[in-house]
């Protein structure tokens, strides 16, 4: 392409095109500046904990000095909790998803006891703290002769808790599937059960996946509460253990925070990727 035609092109560009390009440039500039600012904020945060001091004129800023040796020594011990955290989160979300689906179906049922069971469960769980629920399964049940391991108690409590909240997501998902879909399925002779399983739930799932991603991210963080049982060696438990023992809570908690943050960043990224794939899909 030579210079001439290029000029012609831009001359013939419509005003709408020019405005659009200007808008695009503005948006890009905004994103670039946000990105740079993030970098600066991160640098400031790192500097704050770098242990360096900075002198400007007569003022000297002393930044926080972290125990590098402690960090090096305990890095692998704390990171070792990552797998436990992930494991608990995955098991709990799986359990919660099943419960949420059942609760949502119960909520749509015409059968009074089933409807009642579903709403009773949701009300009870939403009306009590998650922290209490975890202790209930770990500390209170043994009194009745039911002893659950810390991990199991945590998974049961997190699963029950998130199941109650997620049932609302599934209920909305099922409600988002039009009446015409059900009727078309019934008209070809499908039973109500088949209609639910083959037609309604697959479409409801597609609707429910983005909010479920949010729940999963929230759960990876709430899994830290399970450390309170003292028997689940996930991220939080490990960092408080070494932090308390050596009075290096600052270092230990910062390390755990970084791990949680990185985990949620990855999950958030994965979620938006999945969401854009779904948006492009055959809707």
């Amino acid at each position: 392409m030579n210079l001439f035609t290029k000029q012609e092109d831009s001359a013939s560009k419509s005003q709408a095109e020019l405005l659009y390009q200007a808008q695009r440039r503005k948006e890009q500039l905004f994103r670039t500046n946000v990105g740079l600012s993030w970098g600066v904020l991160l640098l400031i945060l790192v500097f704050l904990f770098s242990g360096n001091s900075l002198t400007i004129a007569n003022f000297t800023f002393n930044t926080i000095k972290l125990d590098q040796q402690f960090i090096k020594d305990n890095m692998f011990f704390i990171a070792g909790g990552l797998w436990e955290t992930i494991k608990i989160s995955i098991l709990s979300i799986a359990f919660a998803t099943g419960l949420a689906l059942l609760a949502a179906l119960g909520r749509l049922s015409n059968n009074p006891p089933i409807y009642a069971l579903s709403t009773f469960y949701v009300s009870l769980i939403r009306g009590t703290p998650l922290y209490l629920q975890i202790f209930f399964f770990f500390l209170a049940l043994p009194q009745l002769g039911i002893v659950l391991s810390g991990t199991l108690a945590g998974v049961v409590a997190l699963g029950l808790n998130y199941g109650a909240y997620m049932s609302e997501i599934f209920r909305a998902g099922i409600a988002s599937v039009g009446k015409g879909q059900r009727e078309a399925a019934l008209a070809i002779g499908m039973t109500p059960g088949q209609t639910m399983q083959r037609i309604v739930i697959p479409q409801a799932m597609r609707f429910a996946i983005p909010p479920m991603g949010n729940e999963f991210i929230a759960m990876t963080k709430d899994s830290a509460l399970v450390s309170a049982t003292g028997f689940v060696h996930e991220l939080m438990w490990r960092s408080t253990k070494v932090g308390r023992a050596q009075f290096r809570n600052l270092e230990a908690l910062i390390m755990a925070a970084i791990f949680y943050w990185i985990m949620t960043l990855i999950l958030t990224y994965a979620q938006s990727w999945l969401e854009s794939r779904l948006a492009k899909g055959d809707r």
């Binding site: 879909q181 078309a184 399925a185 008209a187 070809i188 002779g189 088949q194 083959r198 479409q203 055959d282």
Partner: protein, 254 residues
Amino acid sequence: MAPIVKVANLDKYFGRLHVLKKINLEVKPMEVVCIIGRSGSGKSTLLRCINFLEEPSAGTIEVDKLIVEAGGKGREHRQLVHDVRLKTGMVFQEFNLFPHMSVLENVTEGPVTVKKMDRSKANEIAEMNLDRVGMLFKKDEYPMRLSGGQKQRIAIARALAMEPKVMLFDEPTSALDPELIGEVLNVMKKVAQEGMTMLVVTHEMGFAREVADRVVVMAEGEIIEDNTPEEIFKSPKDPRTKALIDRYRSGGVE
């Protein structure tokens, strides 16, 4: 010939609203019956009572020797309703294709899930029916990528794949852009010529005139006229029929 569909003394209430009033209607095998009438006259409800998408309030529905009384309950009734649905295919105004399934899967869904047919046999039947409506070339597409006319032809294939005795059409072309109506009507005409028994709620008077054996006119929940298309269009007996036909003549479709 004995009727294949027989609606006797059918009443339907929605709450206090009396929507169908003692409807009696018989359709013989291979007959094509068009139902016309103003919007709100109860045409859809009548059609939907035949396959029990609406539960009739009173009366009897008979389809191919299966007799179902209104107000039945329990397993036996549910089984009868299920069997009636197997004998009837339905085509909706809004197509209602399953958006999460490919065109082929839409058509095999009934045979595989309901009739427990094995997949290869179901595919064979589905392809045959898609070919029948001229949509085989789109079998791997998803519904969202198709035009309204194409969707409706696939919906017809989906119903035909269950090999019903009677096809029910509820305003199959009312949601379509005018230029797409013809392709759907042509498919319906072809299905009629192949000998299918059809009950068609429609505003397409040309179709009624050309394809129907009988035209049934409804008003306020009653059948006010039931005759050959010639009689209905040339010498309507009821003034409401005349008004309805005049409206179509002047191009006003409600």
